[in-house]
């Protein structure tokens, strides 16, 4: 037993994390004390201000943070080694915060649905009850969504920074729990929304049970929760390898569930469809970014020495995700489900990049590391998917959002601008040149290729062709199909949603035309510290 050592807290490096957490707690206090009429404004300003301050903090920390002890990478091990604030962490923090700012703008949108947000007036009331009808007339809405979102952002920031297994588990839960609730809070189609929340919660809790048992077994193997010491134990082959193998497998279940990889993807379409569209937009981008960063750190830093035992598993999962995601997306008739299956396919593409893992010294000059490629892909995909779901929220009919694909026929005539932006996002997901999706795919494929995983790259290219068919089909529906009935209507949003969509579209275009600066930033992020 070691004696208790007083921990030092690296307040400066942890500042972005503390700001987000502080704002989340403050948001709860606001709910208790601020009059109902002014809560909306206070909460939105608080969230945006806090996220802005946190983003500024990330930039400051990234400029100041020094070289880590072994001299290989920049970064600090904070909170007695439980959080690693290094280049990749700061990159992901910045990305998550920018996505969260866009998400807050979408949450705050009140223009689309006659002066109320997309969230239930009072979620505790059963749909259709007398009391609920009165609430609807009174235009009440939940403003708790903003603190809930800030807690989710806090989890998304802990998750990629976690440098021991316990912090990883706590980060996973802090990320997930608010999202379970947010998925159940839709104003319209409450039954679908509640069902989505139930499914997400049940399957999420089930997968985190596996994840935790995996943690227990890996701890039993290595005798420590710290990644560095697990790595040491794996290198020296210290314990029973059965414990390690089962532990890695069970932990992979939890992480692959969060990123939505086949065969743990079943929740994705249901939750993406049922959740309020702003939540879907934020969740699909943020969760994937945070969970992939955590997965990379766990597998590279803790289990990197035992690569041969987990790469075959990820090979199979990557191939399954790409093909099943793309093929099942083709059969969908609901636009939100279609985008959900396409996100499963994208998970497969990112896993291809993860499998391109090799140490920096093995690379020729100018080649990109797999970490760099995955970070870049996450940035491009995050902005594209957020923008795409934001556009889905604009196409409406009398009963709310018109998500059935047949209702989208003739959108090109109804609103060339909205249809054009959506087509642009779809082309980016398909990976057409001059969009960010092309550069992202190129980056992950070339990372995998330089690691010698050429069969995987060949399969990935085939899968992108299947996926391209799917996106082109949606574009065909929008531009060339005759509208059903009186056709779709586009509700023009306020400046909030317009800003979020413009941000997504601008990022998709700029990262496709001049990807250099962001790739350099990803390169500057360097490697994980140990």
């Amino acid at each position: 037993m070691t004696d208790f050592v007083k921990p030092t807290v690296e307040y400066f490096e942890l500042y972005p994390l503390l700001v987000v957490f502080g704002i989340a707690v403050l948001g709860v206090v606001v709910e208790a004390f601020v009059p109902r009429a002014s809560r909306y404004l206070v909460q939105v300003l608080l969230s945006l201000g806090g996220l802005g301050a946190a983003l500024l903090g990330v930039v400051l920390v990234a400029r100041e943070v020094g070289t880590h002890a072994d001299g290989a990478a920049r970064g600090v091990l904070a909170m007695t080694g439980t959080l690693a604030i290094d280049g990749p962490t700061l990159f992901i923090w910045g990305l998550v915060i920018v996505l969260a700012i866009a998400g807050t703008l979408l949450f705050a949108e009140r223009h689309l649905d006659g002066g109320v947000s997309a969230f239930a007036g009072q979620a505790a009331l059963p749909p259709g009850a007398e009391a609920e009808r009165r609430q609807l007339i009174g235009n009440r809405e939940h403003t708790e969504i903003y603190p809930l979102m800030m807690f989710a952002v806090f989890g998304m920031m802990i998750f990629p920074a976690a440098n021991d297994l316990l912090t990883l588990f706590v980060g996973l839960e802090v990320l997930s729990l608010p999202l379970y609730l947010l998925s159940g809070l839709a104003r319209r189609r409450r039954l679908l929304s509640q069902e989505a929340a139930l499914k997400y919660f049940m399957l999420g809790a089930f997968s985190s049970g596996f994840f935790l048992y995996g943690i227990a077994l890996v701890y039993g193997y290595a005798g420590s929760m710290q990644y560095a010491q697990i790595n040491e134990a794996v290198r020296n082959d210290a314990g029973s390898s059965a414990l390690l193998l089962i532990g890695i497998g069970l932990m992979a279940v939890g992480l692959l569930f969060k990123v939505g990889a086949v065969p743990f993807h079943n929740w994705t379409p249901d939750v993406y469809q049922g959740a309020p569209t702003p939540v879907t937009a934020f969740m699909s981008a943020g969760t994937k970014v945070a969970a992939f960063a955590a997965l990379l750190r766990l597998f590279y830093v803790a289990f990197g020495a035992d690569r041969s035992s987990w790469t075959p598993m990820l090979w199979i999962i990557a191939v399954l995700s790409m093909f099943l995601g793309a093929v099942l997306a083709i059969t969908q008739t609901d636009i939100k489900r279609l985008l959900a299956y396409s996100s499963v396919a994208h998970t497969g593409f990112i896993l291809v990049g993860v499998l391109g893992m090799q140490s920096a010294s093995d690379l020729a000059v100018g080649e990109i590391t797999s970490l760099q490629a995955v970070l870049f892909y996450l940035a491009t995909y995050g902005f594209t998917v957020l923008g795409a779901f934001a556009v889905v929220g604009l196409v409406r009919d009398a009963s709310g959002e018109a998500t059935h694909l047949s209702r989208w026929a003739g959108l090109g005539k109804e609103s060339p601008l909205v249809a054009g932006i959506f087509a642009f996002f779809l082309l980016a997901m398909a990976g057409i040149p001059l969009t960010s999706g092309f550069i992202g795919k190129l980056a992950v494929f070339s990372a995998a290729l330089s690691a010698g995983a050429w069969p995987l790259v060949v399969l990935a290219v085939l899968a992108s062709m299947v996926a391209a068919f799917l996106y082109i089909r949606v574009i065909k529906v929008m531009y060339f199909d005759e509208p059903v009935g009186d056709g779709p209507t586009v509700t023009y949003p306020s400046v909030l949603t317009a800003t979020a969509i413009a941000l997504g579209a601008a990022a998709t275009l700029v990262l496709g035309v001049v990807p250099g600066p962001l790739l350099d930033l990803a390169a500057l992020a360097g490697e994980f510290i140990r």
């Binding site: 935790l212 048992y213 943690i215 227990a216 701890y219 005798g223 929760m225």
Partner: protein, 97 residues
Amino acid sequence: MTQYIVLSAILFTIGCVGVLTRRNAIVVFMCVELMLNASNLALVTFARQHGNLDGQVAAFFVRVVAAAEVVIGLAIIMTIFRTRRSASVDDASLLKY
């Protein structure tokens, strides 16, 4: 030591089978809690075996997280029960394909 690990594996399996076979959302959720507690038992046993406190500390954190999960989970199950008058996970089947 091994007996405790075997016991925790048995508990974990019972929980896992329960989640897959039971139909009432509350019972499914109880089975998930059983899985978490099986993990706690394993964590504490390994902590004893390795002679450090990491596992025991982790068990405390897991209990806190499990409590938070109960709050969220029961809230979600409550809303769906009020709407449908049923807590069966089979009845919630509007979202498919």
